[in-house]
Each structure stands twice: as C-alpha cells, then as structure tokens.
C-alpha cells in the first residue's frame, strides 16, 4: 500500500510538471498535430478499409494459439543455430543477458531502441557488471546523455528542444554549440559510428517475430538497429511473448499498420529480418544470436479474457499522438516505459494495478485512442475494467475494495437519483449552497471538505440555475405549440 501512495504522488506531481513545461508542450503539440491527426485522416481514406479488422483478427487468433506459435518460433530459431532463452520474469531475462555478456567477455554493448529493455531494467544490470551501454537511436542517445527518461515510445526526446540538445552535445560530445538539427545529427553520427563499430554485443527489441520462418523483424529509419544486429559479434534480441506473428502473411498487415500508425510512412526506411548467427560463407552478421522470450506477467494478462485484447498492441504509439491527456501531461507522468493510453492499461497489468491506480483514473475516456488504434484495441473499455477492479476489488489482481465511504456515497447517490422528487430537492439545495463558491470566472474553483480534492487540479462548472429537465419541458411546450419541425437542439 505504501508503494501505491508513492506512485500516486508521482503521477500528480509529474503531470503538473508536464503541464508547466513549455518545451514539452511545444513538442507534444507538434507531434499530435502532425502524426495523430494524420493517422486519423489516413484511416478515413485508406483504400483497403478492412485491413485493420483483418490484422486485429489475426492478432487475436495468434494470441489464442500463442503456445504453438512460440514453440514453432523457438524451433526454427534453434534450427538456424540461434539460442532461445525462456525468461519467466524480468530478473530471469537480465540474468541471462548478463551471463551471455560475461561468457563472451563483452565490455561494450550497443542498443537499438527497446522498451522491454527498460521494462526489465537491463541497462542498470549490465552497467553493474562494468559494461558500457550505449543507446544508438538518436532520440534515446540524447536521453541517455541527459540522464533523462524517454517520454514517447517512438520519439523519445520530444520533451527536449534543439537548444537544450545543442547545449547537451556541446558539453558531452565536446563540439561547438549549434542548435541546427543537421549539425547535431552529424555530431551524433560521428560519435556513435565509432562506438557501434567497436561494440562486442548488440541488444535490440523485436517488433514482430514470424514463427513460420523463424525470423525476427526490426524496423528503423536511422539504421542504428541494422548496426546493432550486423556489426557486433553477438546479437541478443529481447521479445515480449506477444510480439509474434504466425505467418509472413500476418506479418505484412502488422508491418503496414505499424509504420502508418507510428509515423505515417508506407514503410520505414529499414525493415530487417534476422534469425540466427552468420551462416557458413556469410561475410558479416553476428557469430552468436540469442532470442530472449519474456513473459514477465504477460501470461497472466493472456489468461484474463477481459484484458487479453491489450496484447494485440503493435506498439506504434498512435494513441499517444491523439490522447488529450497525454497531449497535456506528457510521458513522464506515467512513470513507465509504456506511457499514454496504452501505458495506462498495460503498465497496471504488468506492474501492479494498485501501484499504477492513478493512470486509468487520469485518462478521460474520450475514445480517441480506440479510433486511432490501427488494430482497434478498445482501450476505453479496458480502462473502465481497470477502474472496476479498483472499485470493487479482485483477489486475482490483488485489488481490494476501494474506500468504504466512497462506496457508501455512491450507494446514496444511486438512491437519490432514482427518486425524482428527492433528486430535485437535492439539486435545489445544492444550487443554493454552491453560491459562495462560484468565482468571478463563473466556475467553482474550490470546494469544501473531502470534495476539495475534486477542484485541486480543475475547475467545476456550477449547477445551472434552471435544471435541464425544466428547460427541456419549457422548450418542448413552446415547440409543441409551434409544430414539430422547429424543434432544435438548443
């Protein structure tokens, strides 16, 4: 319970910080105006409008047969000479990575952007062994230099502007100050090339693995993932068990939706398919290939029919680009490698519903995330399901019935609104009682007692002087007198 309190404070505090951060607000606006709106427009215009439903269907079917799909993937990887490790927990996974690194006397690791590596806390585990870990995605590299955390799953450093990055590079890369993106990119290109060519081990995530062919596929625009999978002696790929496609045919749809949803691209610049060490005669590629399949709470989500759908996610980040809540508070408030609406569902399920209780309550349930999701995951439904777990308790998810007083208030409320005369009386009383609280802006800025929590971060519109039912009746009477064609919605 202590944990939960601590996280709660962080959500409120970090959301407030996000709202106050002008630099972040600029970045959020840029990304939401371009990518979020762009994705909505594209789904509306796309020629093959059945694609999203087909991919969703294949995602669910794959999940329903995940045991078979994973077994086939593992067999095919092993047949190609790769190693497969089965990690039940985050510790299993980091221990294995550490063992592989130690056995091969690895002193330098380069990483391709991977959220699951953050989920399992890999960097700290490797650094504790004295291994140098370098992020190679430009955004992640900036984040690493700034000792910061990513705030978006596709564009990790949208909360930093070019001036801040310029000063950071001046200090850490020892170059003259510039705030020109081409100059900064070139500086990172030079600094990272040397590190990438000398690294002993490349660690990447896995966008989608294909069971049938025993290949994992990775997308990137920069080419850093190709570097990480090609140049070092060892390539180790981390994969959440849900990131699988049964066939290449399934893969095609997922890939197309991923690059559209994420960045409005037909295809990303690079899509690499790898699945083993270099073969006899191969001029390059790693000498060793490891695939780490990670459960870390996913089979528990899989077992719950209510939440299984969230595992269909292809991690494109489109929901971040449209969400009005994420669009204001930014990614850091979610305190998870998975921010935004998808994070508000998946973080509680992976890391504890109590600990991440605020996330599902913070989202607005406006439904934009469902509309923009390439695979139409019903995130609003899932958010409500989480709130239900928190309100009514579920031993299977270690949630307890929420506050008794709150439950009692709602029971009273139910009785009240079910009775017309009582409700009207209560409204009239409240209408009078609210008067001293209405500020000059016409909004209630502060309420008394326990209700004050409501107005801590937002204003409340006061009760109308005339209730809706009254206005409706009046309107209806007038309209009935005039004739039905003139009824408007006013």
């Amino acid at each position: 319970m202590k944990m939960s309190e601590a996280e709660k404070i962080a959500y409120r505090r970090d959301a407030r910080r996000g709202i106050d951060d002008e630099c972040l607000q600029g970045g959020l606006q840029r990304i939401q105006n371009h990518f979020g709106k762009g994705a909505m427009r594209y789904w509306g215009e796309m020629a093959d409008d059945g694609l999203r439903d087909r991919v969703k269907h294949s995602r669910m079917e794959t999940l329903e047969n995940l045991d078979v799909v994973l077994a086939m993937l593992a067999d095919n990887i092993e047949e190609a000479g790769g190693h497969v490790y089965y990690a039940r927990t985050a510790e299993d996974a980091t221990d294995y990575c550490r063992r592989v690194a130690k056995k091969n006397e690895v002193s330098s690791v380069i990483k391709g952007k991977s959220m699951i590596s953050a989920e399992i806390g890999l960097d700290a585990a490797l650094e504790a062994e004295g291994i140098a870990v370098t992020e190679t995605d430009l955004g992640e590299f900036v984040i690493q230099l700034a000792e910061d955390k990513p705030s978006h799953i596709i564009a990790p450093c949208i909360h930093l502007d070019r001036q801040r990055i310029g000063r950071l590079f001046q200090e850490k890369l020892d170059i003259p100050y510039s705030d020109e993106p081409p100059v900064l990119t070139q500086a990172a290109r030079r600094a990272l090339r040397k590190i990438m060519l000398e690294a002993d081990m490349g660690i990447t995530g896995c966008n989608f693995a294909v069971a049938e062919t025993g290949k994992i596929s990775l997308v990137s625009n920069e080419g850093n993932i190709r570097m990480s999978t090609t140049m070092p002696r060892i390539h180790l790929a981390l994969m959440g068990i849900e990131r699988t496609a049964a066939t290449m045919s399934d893969h095609q749809g997922m890939l197309q939706l991923l690059t559209r949803g994420a960045t409005l691209q037909k295809l990303s610049t690079y899509v690499s398919f790898v699945g083993g060490p270099r073969r006899p005669g191969d001029p390059d590629g790693p000498e060793e290939f490891h695939l780490v399949m990670i459960d870390n709470g996913r089979s528990r989500i899989l077992a719950d029919q209510e939440f299984r759908e969230v595992l269909a996610c292809i991690r494109c980040g489109a929901c971040l680009n449209i969400c009005p809540v994420y669009g204001k508070i930014g990614g850091h408030a979610y305190n998870s490698p998975y921010p935004g609406p998808i994070g508000a569902v998946v973080s509680p399920l992976l890391f504890g519903i109590n600990r991440y209780a605020d996330l599902c309550k913070g989202e607005s349930l406006c439904g934009a995330c469902l509309d923009v999701c390439p695979v139409k995951i019903d995130l609003p439904r899932l958010l409500l399901a989480l709130r239900r777990k928190l309100a009514y308790g579920d031993p299977a998810w270690q949630t307890r019935k929420h506050k008794r007083t709150e439950a009692m208030v709602f029971r009273l409320w139910r009785a009240l609104i079910a009775s017309g005369p009582l409700y009207r009386l209560a409204l009239r009383c409240a209408g009078i009682l609210q008067k001293p609280f209405i500020s000059e802006t016409g909004m209630i800025k502060k309420m008394a007692g326990p209700a004050s929590a409501w107005t801590r971060d937002r204003d409340l519109p006061p009760l109308a002087s005339e209730p809706f039912s009254g206005r409706w009746k009046k309107k209806y009477r007038q309209a009935a007198a005039k004739g039905p064609s003139e009824v408007d919605n006013g």
Binding site: L66, M196, E222, M227, T247, M248, F273, D284, S299, L302
Partner: protein, 256 residues
C-alpha cells in the same frame, strides 16, 4: 519438463488447455493457412514489359519524396557511366581515401568499374567470399554498390537477400548506397514481395530498404544520414528502353 516446456505450460493454462499436453501446429491449422499466393505469383510472371516500364515511372515518383534517386539505364555500359558519375560527385566522409565496395554478383562485375577509375585514385573492392577483410574494406569505403533481389514501385523499396558475397554492411556503412536492378525484377507492391518470400522462404537474413537513412528525433526536423547512408540511388537497367530516355551523362552529376 525442459525449460521450453516449463515456459509454455502457464501459457497453455492461460489459454484454457491442459498444461501438460503439448499442442502442435496441426491443431490450429487455420492460423497457418494463408491461402495460395499462386495468383499473385502469376500476375508477376505474366506482367508485360510495358507494364514494368510504367512501374518504373511509379517507382521514380514514389522515390522522390524519400530522397531516393532512381535512374534508368539502357545497358550495363550506361549503368557503369551513371555509377561512376555518382561516385565522382560524392566525397569520402569518414576517411581520406576514395574506396568503394561492391557486391560479388555478375551484373556488378560486368560494369567493370575499376576500368572507369583507372588512374583516378579510386579503389574498387569486391566482397569476395574468401576475403577476410571485407569488414575493414566496408568501413573504409564511401560508396557501397549492391544488387537487390527485387524492388517495389509502390513504396520505393528495394529488397536485399544478404549472404555469401552479398554482405549486409555494403548497404549500411558507406555514406552513399547505389543499388543496381534489372527492370525484370521490379514489382508493384509489398504483397508481391511477401508472396515471393512465402513461396521460397530465404534461409538468409533479408531486408527492405526505402531510401537513405534518416531521423526526425530533434524537433521532428527531417535529417538524412543518421547512421546509415546519407545518399541512395537505384539504377534500373532496361535494355528494351529507347536510347533517348536512357542515361547519357546528362550532366546530372558534375564530372571531375
């Protein structure tokens, strides 16, 4: 139970199957049944040359916004002229010497690029299978020349199946990447590549490339040349094209 069995058991349980009973792919055949790609393969097979030429036009249009240059050439000789012009116009980024590296495939060998650069201080490396120093040569080279298996007009993508004689690094480490393709291997859209890949799944690793490396991580500002090549060209050989539309040293790139 082995590690794999122990890992999959809870997943089976989550799905409502007995934990101890290993299920096989035969039990979910529908999942692995993706229909017949025969129609698509036939469509590719019976595509006329004129249709391929219109695909090339589409490819060129779609490549432009990606900063991928598409250049038609009526012969290997014209392609060699074109490529040597690109090589001359580019300058080394990471070294002081002019070295280029090319895949060990017949069409590229027939270009005889080394002849073009005789006495010009440009060293031409070929990625022979027996050469142990391919990595170092790729690192030192500023131009990489590869022969992709196919290209896709709709998304302006080339498909490379890498392996012996065709290293991955040739299209990755040099600052300029030139791909050489025959128009016969030009496809219409992504689905066609997937159909061909399904028909004969490659054992090797393979990759799709659509233009030069890029990033928009700093304030969504697009910059070409993040970690891969900053410049990319696709040279398409169409031996049945009329000579006047072919490359004739049109001054696209300034000669030395």
């Amino acid at each position: 139970m082995d590690e794999k069995g122990a890992f999959l058991a809870p997943i089976r349980k989550a799905l409502g199957y007995p934990q101890e009973e290993v299920r096989t792919a035969g039990e979910c055949r529908r999942l692995f049944d993706c229909g017949d790609e025969g129609d698509i393969v036939d469509r590719i097979k019976y595509r006329t040359h004129v249709e391929k030429q219109s695909l090339l036009k589409r490819m060129t249009e779609n490549a432009a916004p990606l900063n991928l240059g598409v250049h038609p050439a009526s012969s290997l000789a014209a392609a060699a002229d074109l490529i040597s012009d690109i090589v001359r116009a580019a300058s080394p980024e990471f070294s002081d010497t002019r070295q280029i590296i090319q895949h060990d495939v017949d069409d590229i060998a027939s270009l005889q690029l080394w002849k073009k650069f005789a006495g010009k201080a440009v060293t031409v490396h070929t990625t022979y299978q027996a050469d142990m120093a391919v990595r170092e040569k790729a690192i030192a080279s500023y131009v990489g020349i590869t022969a992709p298996r196919w290209a896709i007009a709709d998304s302006a993508t080339i498909v490379e199946i890498t392996g012996a004689g065709r290293p991955r690094s040739t299209s990755l480490l040099p600052s300029v990447h030139i791909a050489l393709l025959r128009i016969e291997h030009l496809l219409a859209e992504l689905g066609e590549v997937y159909a061909l890949l399904r028909r004969t799944p490659p054992q090797e690793s393979f990759l799709f490339i659509s233009g030069p490396s890029k990033t928009a991580d700093i304030e969504a500002h697009m910059v070409h040349g993040a970690h891969g090549p900053r410049e990319m060209h696709l040279v398409v050989i169409d031996e049945r094209m009329t000579a006047d539309t072919s490359y004739q040293g049109s001054g696209l790139f300034p000669a030395e």
